[in-house]
Symmetry: C2
Subunit: 151 residues, 2 copies
């Protein structure tokens, strides 16, 4: 077992899961005061990768959650949890690149973070295409339909 | 404090940190047997995002590690930990998109994973550009020099 400690918390007034339209969502990430020096230089980047812990997700149930149908894919066979982006995961860790709107003191204002109000943040990393992006990738045929309305 | 449990482990024979040339590195990720059904459908993707815990990193030291000079940037001012990709982080969680070479039973063979032998894996997610990629991003001027030899 591995222990981690939040370095901040999400504020966005979003109180329910699966809200959708996450691209529009504006969030404030409040970084713990003792970590604020760690933000120096982040404003030189347009985007950051936020690593967060989905703390409202119930404990993982292997019997029903290792294999399940992706969002809106009731007509297709079930897919493994590691082949889809469901939030019901053995370790519900979210990883989302967000746009940095502003940084003031200990508050990052960002758009595109798919996390509820109060979600603990574990890490913030600058988005660097060489680390984070894949130029050409192939995905499963069901992905485009699953994406509808998510962002 | 938040607890997470590894779902697998990295095997690649790489016994020291900061090896560099990570793009060439081939690793086998051994998924715990009870999680294997979760891999179903992953072969429909060319790439996956691996979330791992850098378990050989010493405890974070605020005094010296909140602000430090990025890799090879001794001539520049120090930069905050959340504005760079150093492995010495409050929560040393790695997030790396990798190429899926093969999936056989409980073993994923991947390239591009910047993790040492024995590193615990917390999650595997299919790489989906709409979730993971940013088309146009801006980064700090020091980034290109820092990247030399890393991949």
């Amino acid at each position: 077992m591995i222990s981690v400690n939040p370095i901040g918390v999400v504020h966005n007034g979003i109180g329910k899961m699966s809200t959708g339209n996450w691209a529009q969502a504006e969030s404030r990430i409040q970084i713990h005061e003792d970590m604020v020096p760690g933000l120096q230089g982040l404003a030189d980047f347009s985007h950051a990768v936020v690593v967060f812990y989905l703390d409202r997700i119930p404990p993982f149930e292997k019997d029903t959650q290792l294999l399940r149908k992706p969002r809106g894919m009731e007509h297709l066979p079930p897919v493994g949890v590691f082949a889809q982006r469901t939030k019901f995961r053995p370790n519900p860790i979210g990883v989302t690149p967000v746009r940095l709107v502003s940084i003031k003191g200990n508050v990052l204002t960002v758009t595109g973070l798919d996390a509820m109000d109060g979600t603990p943040v574990l890490d913030v990393k600058p988005y660097i295409p060489e680390f984070d992006g894949i130029e050409k990738s192939k995905q499963a045929d069901w992905v485009p339909a699953m994406l509808k309305g998510y962002f």
